[in-house]
Symmetry: C2
Subunit: 238 residues, 2 copies
């Protein structure tokens, strides 16, 4: 049965994998698996949070709609990752909305259950804090990237994170469509196109939905150094 598959993934999720089996079973038996179609809403900004969400299959994005109508993608989650921990435990309202960007399978765990387990088993708190910290960390990284790097450099880092090789050439599949990649990297689709075009200089070729990286080291260099320097080899002022 598909549920067994799902449970296996859940047991391996970042949130649950370090918990004692007994508690994992309790959580699984009270949690619910649900399917979402592409584009379907998982929760909305300002809704009261009562559940923690674990991605079992597919991708989901967290995003905010600003008063002026523009959308900001805050993060994108894949199989094994979870979100909403801190909000749900605080019983606060979601600061973001969540939506499936591919067909997706999500495990929902009621936060009340977690709170009561936390009282018995402090290890759970540590687990939750750990995954919350991971989000914190990734947001900090995003902030830095947004403030200190150009669009093309952010794309370069994005590609580097996707490919698992340390050196030499590499070919990666773009995990979701370009509109979403652009959003995730804080730019418009048009800018993403242009960023791809610039990366040809750094030995990257885009074909359909996969990218061919000629030399990982070279690309890494492009991502980290100020682009002006990559050009005419100047010295930094400070």
């Amino acid at each position: 049965m598909a549920h067994e598959q799902n449970k296996a993934v859940a047991r391996n999720s970042l949130l649950l994998r370090s918990l004692p089996d007994q508690h994992v079973e309790t959580l699984l038996s009270h949690g619910s698996f649900r399917h979402y179609d592409r584009g379907e809403t998982i929760f909305l900004q300002d809704e009261e949070a009562a559940e923690i969400h674990v991605m079992i299959e597919g991708w989901a994005k967290l995003f905010r709609i600003a008063p002026n109508g523009s959308e900001t993608v805050v993060s994108v989650f894949a199989r094994g990752e979870s979100f909403g921990e801190a909000v749900a435990l605080k019983g606060a309202r979601y600061p973001v909305s969540a939506e499936a960007v591919t067909p997706a399978e999500v495990l929902h765990i009621p936060s009340s259950l977690l709170v009561s387990l936390m009282k018995q088993e402090p290890q759970i708190s540590i687990s939750i804090l750990a995954s919350t910290f991971a989000h914190l960390h990734s947001l900090v990284e995003q902030l830095e990237q947004l403030k200190a790097q150009t669009g093309a450099q952010r794309v370069a880092e994005f590609l580097l994170k996707l490919c698992r090789c340390d050196s030499g050439g590499c070919e990666v599949v773009l995990p979701y469509d370009k509109v979403l990649i652009a959003g995730r990297l804080g730019m418009k689709p048009e800018s993403l196109s242009r960023a791809f075009a610039r990366l040809k200089t750094a030995g990257v070729e885009i074909k359909k939905n996969h990218a061919v990286i000629e030399d990982v080291q070279k690309l890494r260099g492009y991502a980290e150094i100020d682009p002006a320097e990559a050009w005419h080899k100047g010295g930094t002022a400070q």
Copy 2:
């Protein structure tokens, strides 16, 4: 003795105020208060985190130095706020550095102590999660602001957060120097100057280190609407 003052502030901090007195006393008696001069380092990126930090007096910034040398201010903390909870409990390395930006008094609480208290008192975990969530939330807001607002709009929101009035006029004191404000808002000091200049349109006058807001509502309007529309009153496409 000054220590009593300090302890009073600590007891009122966001992290400790909701804890039972008994535990607060334990934490205080094992924590240490320390003074920092302006510009002094509190901790460095990549150091191992073993303490939680509570601001008692003054201001501190969290920041990252990118490989290319540019600094990103991630957050600024004031009296009563705390940072480093999630990292310290996970025993990970700091993803950011911290530095006093004014003369400051900081309470350091060993994380090992907190871990053992968490085992006795689940309420502590909730407290910590709450303040971690607050950070998470503020980072999300920053991301949104950076992606969806212009510099002048970010400055407008910054001023609005400082003034506690809901309508009418208002005068606020800029809490720290303009270089830091600029950093906190993701821009260079020059851009901050220009943003201030633009805000004259929205009824804001800057004199030395305080800002006079003519009409809070008006400024709020400026912060939220797309600046192009504030100009020629167009309709949004989408």
